[in-house]
Symmetry: C2
Subunit: 212 residues, 2 copies
């Protein structure tokens, strides 16, 4: 395309956002900066110079807007860890380690930059549990895939990758859960690399039922 006309036709990734996208973008900004509780649909409409009725054409409630905002945010996290899970020529233990580290770093970064994101997450957890659960399930599925890869590679010895992955997932709650991640952030014991090494050790051993 000649340079002189290129600016007339925006490339696809810069295409004008739809009204729905603009509402989500503004809602996400307001939830981050002002907080979920203090943001009203009327505020969102006013900032976008549209009527509240127009916002309601796309979302039936603030709760529905929040669900879409949370789905977009969790979608980003899921895409990030899926990319790590798919890294070629990297052993499963290292991919698992990078995924857990990425989840931790992402969670801390998000909440340090915007402490009010907590309100949005709390609202989602209390009002829209299905959205949160679906995210948790998708993260769990990626972890299970990498654990299964590790079993095939001979790095892990677990008999049930899905169950082992759910153990890993639960075990990293302290490091990744939005409700905990920024509590006393300077002192998370043990440091994450120590925890990851410990959990990888568990994956090398099939759990025994009869311990008693």
């Amino acid at each position: 395309m000649p340079a002189a006309t290129a600016h007339l036709i925006p490339p696809p990734e810069e295409a004008a956002p739809t009204t729905r996208d603009r509402i989500l973008e503004e809602a996400a900004r307001s939830f981050r900066e002002i907080g979920y509780q203090k943001t009203t649909v009327a505020d969102i409409a006013r900032t976008l110079k549209m009527s509240p009725a127009n916002v309601y054409r796309f979302f039936e409630s603030k709760k529905a807007i929040n669900e879409a905002v949370v789905e977009r945010l969790t979608g980003e996290i899921e895409a990030m860890i899926a990319a790590i899970a798919d890294t070629p020529k990297l052993g499963a233990p290292e991919r698992l380690s990078r995924i857990v580290t990425a989840l931790h770093d992402d969670s801390r970064r998000r909440f340090e930059a915007h402490p009010r994101v907590h309100e949005m997450v709390e609202a989602a957890m209390s009002e829209s549990w299905a959205v949160c659960q679906a995210h948790v399930d998708r993260i769990g599925a990626v972890l299970a895939r990498v654990v299964a890869d590790g079993v095939r590679e001979g790095a892990f010895a677990v008999t049930d990758p899905k169950s082992a992955a759910s153990c890993i997932h639960a075990a990293i709650t302290r490091y990744c859960h939005p409700v905990l991640v920024n509590r006393q952030p300077d002192r998370v014991e043990p440091p994450l690399p120590v925890m990851i090494a410990f959990l990888l050790g568990a994956l090398r051993q099939p759990p025994r039922d009869a311990e008693r």
Copy 2:
């Protein structure tokens, strides 16, 4: 002691509570039933038929009362798990398993019975972190002791029992942390016994540093 006079001299464990004890008892009841936020020092004094000034002779603030209430509560939990840690003739894996189960059951029971206990815990976590940290450290010390026992017994293979115990402690956050334990209580994945078996597996393997 003849039965006819026994009621005149209360046995030591039934001795009249001190004023300090009565204040703590009433504060704990009010924090549980009315909530930390809505309880005032004046309310506590009124219920005990004493002046607020008298309460302040023992505690300089509501925060100081809460710290004492939380210390008593955490002391009960610590005594409970220390008793399990000291159970004679029980292998370390089984003692560890029982400790984790007891922490989980205790946490759920407390918060199911009195959801408003959360307010008290939140207040302690934000205003009196040292009290919470001391509790976490004491639980960690008991776990480390049992892990070290397991190494001596030949059941565990970790090289650093204290570090391994801190991994166990962090890994059970999802099951024991007061802020999480009653969120979606019907669906904690994986079930705790599966998680415990997984973690015991990790203890049988020394973690390796060089995974990459």
